[in-house]
C-alpha cells in the first residue's frame, strides 16, 4: 500500500504541497487528477524518492521511500519528460536498467519486442516523443515493479498505442497485482482504467474515493417542474435552457430521486456524471476557474 501522510513541500516561499494525504490500496489503479499547479508532479517526485519532503511521510508498505533502495527497487516510474543517456539505444538502456534493477525480466523484454516494434539498436535521441514513451513503458514493465508510477503516461502516443499501453498496464496489474498510480489530465481515459481517484488542488487532496463511490455520490438531474425544488438538496451547480433545468447534486442517487419525485415534476431524469464532470464540479466548489462552464 502507498501511504502519503501530511506531506509538505516548500519551494522557497511557495508551498507546493500542503499536508497532502494519499492512500493507494494494493493492486489499485489510482488516478491522480487535479488542475495545473495542483502539485501532482511534485507528489510523484516524492513518491519516486527524488525529492525530500519538508514534512510528513511517504511510505510504501510502511517503509519510507527516500534514500531507500530496498523500496525503490520495487518501484518503476515514467516521468512526464523522459531521460536517456544521449548516445544510448534502447538496448543500451535495457542493459543499464538490468544492472540497476535486480528484478529486471530479460525474457519479458524479449517478449515485448514484438508489441512495441521499435528498433532497439537505434539511438534513442532519434526516436519521436511517442516512441520514447513506448520505450519507457517497455523498460519500466520489464523491471517487474510492485508499484508503477506514471506521470502523464500516454501523452504523445497515438490512439492505437494508447490502447495497447493501457492494455499492458491492466494486464500487468491483473496478473502481477502491480499497484499503479497515474497522473493525467485525460480524465475520460482515466475513467476507463482507474478504480480509485484522488482529486488534488493547491497541494491538498480534495477528494479521494473509489470511482464507483465517487460516481454514486454525485448526480446530474434534468427536470421540468412548475414547483419549487425540495429543500435540503446539496446542489453544486444549476443552469437552465428554456424550461429544462440542469442540476448537479451531491448525494445518493436513490434519495435524490425520491425527493424530486415527491414534488411531482413534469419531467425528470438522473444522469450519471463522467469523471471529467465530477472533476469540474468538485473543483468548482473551491473556486476553480471553470466553475461556470455549462454542460
Amino acid at each position: 500500500m502507498i501511504e502519503v501522510r501530511n506531506l509538505v513541500k516548500n519551494f522557497d516561499s511557495f508551498r507546493a504541497l500542503d499536508g497532502l494525504n494519499i492512500t493507494v490500496p494494493d493492486g489499485a489503479i489510482y488516478g491522480l487528477v487535479g488542475p495545473n499547479g495542483a502539485g501532482k508532479t511534485t507528489t510523484i517526485r516524492h513518491l519516486t524518492g527524488v525529492m525530500r519532503q519538508d514534512g510528513g511521510d511517504v511510505l510504501f508498505d510502511g517503509q519510507p521511500v527516500y534514500e531507500n533502495p530496498a523500496v525503490k527497487t520495487r518501484i518503476a516510474s515514467i516521468p512526464d519528460d523522459i531521460y536517456y543517456f544521449p548516445q544510448a539505444s534502447i538496448r543500451d538502456m535495457m542493459r543499464f536498467y538490468r544492472g540497476v534493477y535486480p528484478t529486471f525480466d530479460t525474457a519479458l523484454y524479449e517478449k515485448l519486442r514484438d508489441v512495441f516494434a521499435l528498433d532497439e539498436k537505434q539511438p534513442m535521441r532519434r526516436l519521436s516523443k511517442g516512441m520514447l514513451k513506448q520505450a519507457a513503458f517497455w523498460l519500466a514493465l520489464c523491471a517487474r515493479p510492485n508499484w508503477l508510477l506514471l506521470d502523464e503516461p500516454v501523452d504523445g502516443l497515438d490512439p492505437v498505442m494508447r490502447r495497447q499501453v493501457w492494455s499492458l498496464i491492466l494486464d500487468d496489474a491483473g496478473q502481477n497485482g502491480t499497484t499503479v498510480l497515474v497522473s493525467s489530465h485525460n480524465l475520460r481515459e482515466l475513467e476507463d482504467v482507474c478504480d480509485h481517484v484522488g482529486i488534488m488542488d493547491h497541494g491538498k487532496m480534495l477528494l479521494e474515493r473509489s470511482l464507483a463511490e465517487l460516481q454514486d455520490n454525485i448526480v446530474k438531474v434534468q427536470l421540468v417542474t412548475e414547483h419549487a425544488l425540495p429543500a435540503g438538496l446539496n446542489i453544486l451547480h444549476s443552469s437552465a435552457a428554456g424550461r429544462v433545468r440542469t442540476l448537479i447534486v451531491r448525494g445518493a442517487q436513490q434519495e435524490i430521486s425520491d425527493r424530486i419525485s415527491a414534488t411531482l415534476p413534469i419531467f425528470f431524469d438522473l444522469i450519471p456524471l463522467s469523471l471529467e464532470e465530477i472533476f469540474i464540479y468538485e473543483l468548482g466548489g473551491v473556486d476553480y476557474a471553470v466553475k461556470n462552464i455549462v454542460l
Binding site: 519551494f11 517526485r45 519516486t48 524518492g49 527524488v50 525529492m51 525530500r52 534514500e67 533502495p69 530496498a70 523500496v71 525503490k72 527497487t73 520495487r74 518501484i75 516510474s77 516521468p79 519528460d81 523522459i82 531521460y83 536517456y84 543517456f85 548516445q87 542493459r95 543499464f96 538490468r98 544492472g99 540497476v100 534493477y101 535486480p102
Partner: protein, 613 residues
Amino acid sequence: MQSKTSCCNGAVLRRNLLRFCPLWAVFLAVWIVVLPLNILSGGSAAYKEIGSLQTYVLSAASVAGCFVNMFYAIFTVMALFSYLYSARSVNTLCALPIRRGTMFRTNLLTALTVWLAPSLLVTLLTALSASVIGLPGASLALEWLGITGLQYLFFLGLACLSAALVGQLLALPALYLLLNFTAIVVNYFARVILTAFVYGLPQDSADFVLGRGSPVYYICSHTGVVGTSITSEITHYSFDRWGYLGILAGIGVVLLVCAALLLRARRLETAGDIIAVRPLRPVFKYCFTAGCSLVLGVLAELIVFGSGPSAARIAVTALCLLAGGFIGYFGAEMLLKKTLHVFRREWIGYGVFALIVLCLVGALRIDLFGYERYIPDAKDVSSVEFSAYSQDCMPVTDEAHIADILALHQGAVSLKNEQLALQRNAGDGKTSASTFFFTYHMKDGKTVSRSYVISVTESQWRDPKSLARQFSAVYNDPELVVLRSTPTYEVSARQISWSSVTSYDASDTYSSLNLTSDEAWTLYTEDILPDIRDGKGGQADLFFNSGTADAYTASISIQFSRSEESDPKHTDDFYLNYTPIAGSRTEQWLLDHGAALTLQSDYDAAHADSTKS
C-alpha cells in the same frame, strides 16, 4: 529487503566508463605526446644525460601536469555529475534504487579510474621510451605519476565541491576557475588599490602573500625541480615540493568529503539554479559583490582615470569600487533569482555593502591602523636594507647608519602631504623624483618594508637641508655604497659570470673590452671597492643629473651569478654597473689594460661645440 547497491554501482560505473571514453582517450593522447613520444623523437640528441631527461619529465609533471590535471578534473566532473543540473535527468536517475552516497562513490571511482588507467600506461611507456634512448627512466616515470596524482586529487576535490555547490552545468567550471584563481587575483588587485592609498606601502608587487592559495600560480612559479651536483658535469634533478603537493592532496580529500556530504543533503529541485546550497546563496552574493567591486572598480579606475596620484583619486576610487560593487551585487541577484527585475528590491544589502566600502576607504585615508605613521624604534632594529632600486643589497647593521636611515624615514613620513603634492606635478619638467626602499629586519625576527617616492623641485634641490638632499647624502655615503655594490651572498672570482668595460669617445665611437673573471675580480676587489671607500666612485645620480663632473663616459659591468637552491634553472644574479672617475685606482687599472677613456665633461663640451657649429 537488502539493497543490491552498496559501495558502488557496477551498472553506473560501466556506463560512466563507456560514455566518457573520448575524454580519457584525449587525456591519454596528450600525455603520450608530451612524454614517451617527445622522449623518443628527441632521442639521445636532446637527452644526452639523465639530468636533462629528469628536468624535462619533472617539469612536465609539475607545470604541464598542473594545467592538464586542472582541466581534466573539471571536464571529468562535469561529465559525471551533469545529471544533477537538469530536472529531466534528475527525475529519472535519482528515482533509481541507488543511494546518493553510492552514486557519489561510483562517480568518484570512475574519476579515479579514468585518471589512473591512462596514467599507468603513460608511466610504463615513459619508462620504456627512456630505456630505448639508453637512460634509466622507471623511477622518474613513477615520480611523474606521484606528482600528477597528488595534483589530480586536489583538483578533483575542488571540482567535486564546485559540482556540489552549483545547480547549473555552466556555473560549475565558472565557480571552479574562480576558486582556483581567487586568491591570486584578490591579492593582486588589493595590492594595487592599497599601493594607491597607503603612503609608504612597498610598490614591489612580486610577492603574492596569497599565492599558495592559487595552486596553479604557485606550482608554475615554484616548479620544485632542484638540482644536486654529482660531479662537475653531472647534476641530478629531483622534485622537492612533495610537502606542498601532499597538503594539496589532503585538502582535496577533505573537499571530496565535503562534496559527498553536500550532495547527500542536496535538494534536487535546485537543478537549474546557480547556487544549489541555499544557505550559501548570500555568501555567494556578497563574495561576488566584493570581487566585482575590487576587480571591476580597480580596472575602471586604471582604464578611465589612470594610475597617477591626484587630489580627487580617493573619491574616484571609492566611486569605482561602489560602481563595481553595484554591478556585482545586482548581477549576483539576477543570477540567483534568474530575472532582470531585481532593482526594485534588495537595495538594503547594497547599501550595507556601500557603507562598508566607504568605511574601509575612509579608514585607509585617515590611516586608522597607523601603518603610515609607524616608524620602527632604533633599538628594535637589527639591520636595514636601504636602496633606490628593488635589487637586494647587503643590510646596514651599524647603529649610526641605521639612525641616519630612520631619520630619512621620519622625514618622508613628516612631509607626506608635500611629497604627494610634488608627485601630482610630476612630468612638468621642474621636478625630479627617485623611489627609495626601506626594509627593516627587527630583532624579534619580523620584517618591516616601506617605499617612498621622493620628489624635489630645482629650487628645493639647491637647499642642502631639503629632504631630497638628505636622501642623496645618506644614500651616497661611501660605506652604504660599498654595501650596495656587494651581492647578498659570499662571492669570489667563480661567481663572476660576465664582465666588460664599454666606453665611447667624443666622436661617439664605441669601444668594448671583455674581462676574464680573474681580471674582473682583481678590478672589483683592489680598485673599485677601495675607490668607493675613498669616496672616488659609486655615487648615484638620483636627482637632476647631479653626478660628479670628473666621471668618464665608460661603464664597468660585472655580473655575479649563483644558482638558486630552490630552482636550479634560475640564478640569483647581481649586476654591478660602475662609472670610473678621474684620479682613481680604477681609472689607472683601465688605462693599464688599454681601455680608452673620455671624460664626460669633454664629451659634453665637444657635443656643445658641434651643436653650435
